[in-house]
Amino acid sequence: MADILPLREVCGIVTAFLTALIETPAFYLSGYRDFREWIYFACINVISNIMLTGWLYEMPFESDSPEFWAVVALCESAVVILEFAMFSCLFWKGAGMKKLFAVIFFTNALSFSLGLLMVFTGILQ
């Protein structure tokens, strides 16, 4: 696959599907049991994570510099807002949106923490 697609695309797609694999069950367990809701959530996740990978690849900093981690935090925050906005565009309910924001924040924090753990333990290169 890496021969056909450039590294950035491969990393983007793999990371996006890994993230969706972590976040979608967490979203389901948070009370969003409607089939349509969590299928859309999974799609939104894949889109936002491919974008996130793109942003991180465009960044001019080394991965061990403090600037890199500052930009990672900024991009992750942007992804939380982006996912909230995308999901709200489809399932706007007026009330209950605070819970949605909290759930999206929680699922992203979970996948980010697990991702860091995998990187630091050497599971993910």
Partner: protein
């Protein structure tokens, strides 16, 4: 009324572009070309918010303003006046027409379709004029004929351009929401223009289709789903390459135009001219610095989507008559 205004818009933008292009082909000094094009742009786009504010306060001047547009454009066509005054006359004519007709279009209905269709024709006129495909005199004849029909109709129906103003307090969240929308317009100024030299008229047609489609789609599926659709189109276009990517991205960016314009008007319904002028003025940074500043298109698409969503959220909470948009 919409069709006549759209036709005049096509002619006005085409005429100005044809005259400026006519000057540019005979001018050997590139710096002078940039200077006079900037002067024209600054007058035409930068002056719209001032003209809009004045016409909002004095509705009765809308009709006389439309009448003087062909006169100003005719003066702008006179090479004897010199390029400095030509640029000023053309800019003023363009500025006054946009605002006066813009007010008529904004107040005659509350949908997204009409501002999109009205603004879309200008891009094609601009393309035809800049490429010198149609002469300035043809555009002027079309503009004058259209203005006569428009003025005749407005004389019969004065309610088409008069509206009452009820000055109310503008709260901080409403002001912030409007600023976010204007930031989205600035983004479009940077990302909404592109050029394929082999096909001179292709991109103007993409602009036109994008602007019209944005309004029509929004009226059918609603504001929220439209901004999501635009974002997904941007995302898909960024995964493609070549002309297909460029065309889809430009189309998607242009689809935001009627949405920002109408939502801005809903924020300040008493100021249709001012909101129209501010939206036009916010395209200026892109026109001036678009060549020199690079903003990543994926970042631009995400910021624009989040901005338009935030503006909608703020409007639903703090805007007036918000119920209509809440369900769209």
């Amino acid at each position: 009324m919409l069709s006549v205004c759209t036709l005049i818009h096509f002619a006005v933008d085409g005429l100005c572009a044809a005259v400026m292009a006519g000057y540019a082909v005979n001018e050997p000094d590139f710096a002078r070309i940039v200077y006079y094009f900037s002067l024209y742009n600054a007058t035409a786009f930068g002056g719209q918010w001032i003209a809009g504010l004045m016409l909002d306060k004095h509705n009765r001047f809308i009709l006389p303003s439309l009448v003087i547009v062909p006169v100003l454009l005719a003066l702008g066509m006179l090479t004897e006046a010199g390029i400095f005054f030509q640029a000023i006359f053309l800019g003023l004519g363009n500025c006054i027409f946009h605002v006066a007709a813009g007010i008529i279009i904004m107040i005659r209905s509350d949908n997204f379709r009409e501002p999109g269709i009205f603004v879309s024709s200008g891009a094609v006129g601009l393309g035809l004029g800049l490429g010198s495909f149609v002469g300035a005199l043809w555009f002027w004849a079309l503009c004058t004929g259209g203005t006569i029909i428009l003025v005749h109709r407005l004389l019969k129906d004065r309610t088409a351009y008069t509206f009452s103003r009820d000055d109310t307090h503008i709260s901080a969240p409403v002001f912030a929401g409007a600023l976010i929308l204007l930031l989205c317009v600035v983004m479009r100024g940077f990302g909404g223009n592109s050029n394929i030299p082999e096909y001179a008229m292709l991109m103007p047609c993409v602009y036109m289709l994008g602007k019209s489609a944005g309004g029509i789609v929004c009226d059918i599926i609603g504001y929220r789903k439209t901004i999501l659709l635009i974002f997904i189109m941007c995302f898909v276009s960024l995964q493609l390459s070549g002309y297909a990517s460029l065309i889809l991205l430009t189309f998607a960016f242009n689809m935001t135009m009627p949405l920002t314009l109408r939502l801005l008007h809903r924020y300040f319904p008493e100021y249709p001219g001012l909101t129209f002028g501010l939206a036009a003025g916010c395209l200026l940074p892109g026109a001036f610095f678009g060549e020199y500043m690079r903003i990543f298109p994926d970042v631009m698409a995400a910021v624009q989507f989040m901005g338009m969503f935030a503006a909608w959220l703020i409007f639903c909470r703090y805007g007036r008559c918000a119920e209509s948009l809440q369900h769209s």
